[in-house]
């Protein structure tokens, strides 16, 4: 594992995914954000990763058929 002090861009690349997943602790997040504020090389790649996440999320938007909704509701325990 590299550190921001040794090789900031390599470290940023390592932590970019957990950063986007909101899984870094406060100190790690602050380091990543500081580096991203200074480095246009990493910032471009960060924006790209953000865009890719959005694409994955948008691609996943599928509507459930109304018939399926009705079938699920019909599985409820009948009221006596």
């Amino acid at each position: 594992m590299t550190s921001f002090a040794d090789d900031p861009c390599a470290r940023c690349e390592e932590v970019l995914q957990p950063y986007l997943d909101r899984e870094l602790d406060d100190a790690e997040r602050a380091e990543a954000e500081y580096h991203l504020s200074l480095c246009s090389y990493c910032r471009k790649r960060y924006r790209f990763e953000e865009h890719l996440r959005r694409l994955v999320r948008q691609a996943a938007v599928v509507e459930m058929a109304p018939e399926l909704k009705a079938r699920l509701a019909a599985l409820r325990t009948p009221l006596h």
Binding site: E13, H51, L52, A59, V62, L68, L75
Partner: protein, 194 residues
């Protein structure tokens, strides 16, 4: 020892009926979100619909085991992923651990190189929603489950670990590998000659 009178029994039954109705309503209100994840865990819409019905039937039967105040969406997805595993979908072998591209930046770098343009907007335009859907379906199940839960279901690593009943370290390694495979698929599609 407490005594059960017809009155207390009637009150208990009324409370239970009210709790059950509330549970069922809450579970149904989450069905769209659960379906969105289910649809990407399996190969077809029919499979996803079957899985949803089985999962909801089981959830409604075992509603008493849900602890109110905990994450109902995660609880429902745990039932659904367990059913999916029980159905033998895991017969598909996880592919060998062949080496993947180094580094998380490789997709951007590859697209930038092939676009011959350092403008990130242009690089981003090389990817489409269709290509993402097809790349995602090419990610092997074990890895895809985690990618779908975290990237589409917006679950934390800890929630995904609980849903899939695997250690958090396994969630992280599968996520890492699943995303790399996804990117590799996207790179092949976007960069290969038309």
């Amino acid at each position: 020892m407490s005594e059960t009178t017809p009155d207390t029994e009637a009150r208990r039954l009324a409370t239970e009926a009210r709790d059950r109705v509330r549970f069922e309503e809450d579970a149904l209100a989450l069905a769209d979100q659960v379906y969105r994840v289910a649809r990407h865990l399996v190969g077809s819409r029919d499979e996803a619909e079957d899985l949803m019905q089985e999962a909801y039937a089981r959830a409604f039967r075992s509603w008493r085991s849900f602890r109110p105040g905990t994450n109902l969406r995660a609880w429902l997805l745990r039932i659904l992923t367990n059913l999916n595993i029980d159905r033998g979908r895991r017969l598909q072998r996880t592919p060998g651990m062949e080496p993947l591209e180094e580094g998380d930046y490789f997709l951007y770098n590859r697209l930038e190189e092939s676009t011959g343009d350092a403008d990130e907007e242009r690089v981003v335009e090389r990817l489409s929603q269709d290509s993402v859907v097809s790349a995602l379906s090419a990610v092997p199940h074990d890895f895809r489950d985690v990618v779908v839960l975290v990237d589409i279901g917006d679950f934390s690593y800890a929630d995904a670990a609980q849903i899939l009943d695997i250690p958090i370290g396994t969630v992280m390694s599968r996520l890492h590998r699943g995303r790399r495979i996804l990117k590799q698929q996207l790179a092949e599609e976007a960069v290969s000659p038309a």
